[in-house]
Amino acid sequence: MRQDRSYKRFITLGKNLKPSKKIITLIIVISAVAVILILKCSLFSKSNSAAIEDFRTKGNPDAPIKIIEYLDFQCPSCAYASKVIKEQMSSHPDLIHVTLRHFPLSMHRHGVLASTYVECAARQNKFWEFHDKTFENQDAWKKLSDARPAFELIALDLQLNIKKLNSCLRDVSISEIIESHKQEGKAKGVRSTPSLFINGELLVGVNTLPQKLNQLVSQFQSNVEQ
């Protein structure tokens, strides 16, 4: 009898010690949010809108609209983004500054090759020319099983020194540069292309790029007029 009472008291005590369901739910929700936020902060670095000025940059370094674009030369949306940005820059040259970073996607078989050719063209001071021609001819070369002849034609068109170009294509440091850009992008949370950091704010894809740029241009144009 005494044992039964003790046992019953033990069970009642156990039940009374159980926290309520709502408290447990609250603890779980708060913990989950905290874990996610900690992981977010530790895994991804904030984008710095101040880009390093090098041959992959274009426009007024003091421009109010700073774009850092992670791109893949075989990506059709990147070709469109390039066209949109180019149009805005030609209309408002003082307002936009662009920095390009390579982010070739594994699903695009010629992505790395295209980036390599563009980087090597940069060594002969033809980065932006090769960049433009690569996008202009994208529909043609992306269907080829071997895109090298297409890029060589672009090189000839731009009067690049082919011997220097071929030497550069064998240079390991070029692939290291491309890979470092990709790792840099991944550290900022870039997963697809084009991913554009416009004044530090990430925009993925091109659906709203024209409107976003128009909005910013209008905003900064009216600031300049004032």
């Binding site: 039940k15 159980k18 369901k21 447990i24 739910t25 779980i28 929700v29 989950a32 996610i36 992981l39 977010k40 895994l43 991804f44 949370g189 997963r191 697809s192 991913s195 990430l202 925009l203 993925v204 894809g205 659906n207 709203t208």
Partner: protein
């Protein structure tokens, strides 16, 4: 089975919440869900991209731990039905979607495959709701009475 579904949705939700929400928004935009309200489609896509990953994460946690289990399973069932509708409308309209975007970059599945997967998932959720006595084993709901 309940534990596997919980882990699956925790993984799906966590990968999307940890990364910038813009990555998932890019996927959502491809489904063109809010074309009929074009003035607000961007804001609605943003809302979906911000909310759905957290919903997946919490539903996954509650199902794994077996907390508010019946409500969590019903909500998950509703969510999966939503996914089925979204993917079906994309396929019917012939929208150019190569990857469903469901599990971030880690796992790629075309929409057709995802539709089949979601239908099987819905079947499993219904089974778990039907076989409550077995579902509730090793759950916080049971421990708390």
């Amino acid at each position: 089975m309940r534990l596997l579904i919980g882990i699956l949705f925790i993984y799906s939700g966590a990968t999307k919440t940890i990364e910038p929400y813009q990555n998932f928004q890019y996927i959502v935009e491809h489904y063109q869900l809010f074309d009929f309200v074009s003035a607000y489609s961007y804001e609605l896509d943003t809302l979906v991209a911000r909310v759905i990953p957290w919903l997946e994460l919490f539903l996954g946690i509650f199902i794994l731990l077996g907390l508010w289990l019946e409500n969590a399973l019903k909500t998950l069932g509703g969510l999966v039905v939503g996914f089925i509708i979204v993917i079906s409308q994309a396929l019917i309209r012939g929208l150019p979607i190569d990857d469903c975007g469901c599990f971030g970059e880690s796992f790629s599945m075309p929409p057709q495959g995802m539709l089949i997967f979601d239908c099987c998932l819905l079947g499993l959720v219904i089974l778990l709701l039907w076989k409550k006595e077995k579902t509730i084993v090793f759950s916080l709901d049971r421990w708390m009475g």
